[in-house]
């Protein structure tokens, strides 16, 4: 095996330096290859070795997320990752959703930088909730969610709502093991928000256009919201909703039921 690039080993390959290993002639006439610190030589990279890594930076998170997904799959449980900017109405929507779901099995993981305010609000509805404070962190990750799941008694066929940290940037990249990201966008935020933060709206399967009851009071164009959402994600499903008046709630609850129904047969099939 070549110790420079490791070809022949099978795991390390793909360098473009070729095999023009340099050597020099010693005073005694002998020829020395790679007579330097690392014992090998590559043009432009003397005294160094290359180690091919090819590992995703988020590989560790993705492994935790995969474990969470397997656990949820085994239960036939649906996990929804609610993402939005702060103040879009995630927690209010969640409270209304829990009330509407009545006795259905569900649990909530609340992510915030600080305080247990949101988990307290959820627990006030009677639902099981656990707060995850990320401290300095700007997003929930797969590891945190796995730990939080340990503290929730998820039953088969349950719905798990994960309310991510209010942030339209970082949570887009961190898989938690959820079935779908649901982005909540309130009508007061500006029609161009999907264009300003395209990563999140591309990653989301559903967009909830929240606080539509305020639309007549703040000169917004709901059609333009939808056009811009579809511009960054042509496949996105859009639900116009007001958690305050209840408009659109039926459509949202129907979406949840359909998504859960898709999960449950998986368990039966296994």
């Amino acid at each position: 095996m070549c110790t420079v690039c490791g070809c022949g080993d099978g795991k390390i390959e793909g360098h473009d330096h070729g095999h023009h290993h340099h050597h020099h002639h010693a005073p005694d006439g002998s020829i020395h290859f790679g007579d330097n610190a690392a014992g090998v030589s590559v043009p432009g990279m003397s005294e160094a070795r290359l180690i091919e890594v090819e590992t995703d930076i988020l590989a560790k998170n993705d492994a935790y997320a995969a474990a969470n997904r397997a656990r949820l799959g085994g239960l036939g449980a649906l996990a929804v990752n609610l993402v939005s900017s702060p103040g879009s109405g995630k927690t209010t929507l969640l409270c209304r959703t829990i009330e509407a779901l009545g006795d259905r099995p569900l649990a909530v993981i609340e992510g915030d930088q600080q305080t247990t305010n949101d988990a307290d609000r959820i627990r006030a509805t009677g639902a099981a909730a656990i707060q995850v404070n990320t401290g300095k962190g700007c997003h929930l990750d797969g590891h945190m969610v796995g730990h939080a799941m340990d503290h929730l008694d998820l039953v088969p066929g349950a719905m798990l709502f994960i309310e991510n940290v209010g942030n339209l940037v970082c949570p887009a990249a961190f898989d938690l093991g959820e079935d779908a990201k649901v982005a909540i966008l309130s009508v007061t935020e500006g029609e161009d928000k999907p264009l300003k933060y395209p990563d999140m709206f591309t990653a989301a399967r559903v967009a909830i256009l929240n606080k539509v009851d305020l639309a007549p009071h703040c000169d917004v164009d709901l059609e333009l919201y939808e056009t811009n959402l579809r511009r960054v994600n042509p496949a996105i499903e859009i639900i116009r909703l007001s958690a305050r008046t209840g408009a659109g709630m039926a459509e949202w609850l129907a979406w949840l039921d359909t998504a859960l129904a898709v999960k449950s047969p998986q368990e039966a099939a296994e």
């Binding site: 690392a38 930076i57 962190g137 395209p198 591309t202």
Partner: protein, 113 residues
């Protein structure tokens, strides 16, 4: 976005690789970053220097290789390469493009001494 936490991921990958290959010092780290990965290079360079302190990669050079953004065009149903998320389809001019590739964030290789 979260370049600091990304660098913590990089540090773990680098430490594991250095240990596996009995390398004391890592002198260069090469990353592959997709155009749509949302990585701010300046922030990444700053976070890298800070996070690698005390690791085998302290003071290592950081190199970022760009990977293209790809998307599926909903109008002509072809996979195309695009410069930015709002670019029209280079084949048919359509505006409905679903990003497909370009969110990669990988440690490609390390140069060790």
């Amino acid at each position: 976005m979260h370049e600091m936490s990304l660098c913590e991921g990089i540090r773990e990958i680098v430490e594991t690789a250095a240990r596996t290959h009995s390398a004391e010092r890592v002198t260069r780290v090469r990353l592959e970053i997709g155009r749509f990965a949302g990585v701010e290079k300046t922030a990444m360079e700053f976070a890298f220097d800070v996070v690698m302190r005390g690791s085998p990669a302290e003071g290592a050079a950081l190199e970022m290789i760009d990977l293209p953004g790809t998307a599926t065009c909903f109008d002509c149903a072809k996979d195309v390469e695009i410069e930015d998320r709002f670019a029209p389809c280079p084949l048919c001019g359509g505006g409905k493009l679903m990003p497909k590739g370009g969110d990669e964030m990988r440690v490609k290789d390390l140069e060790v001494a």
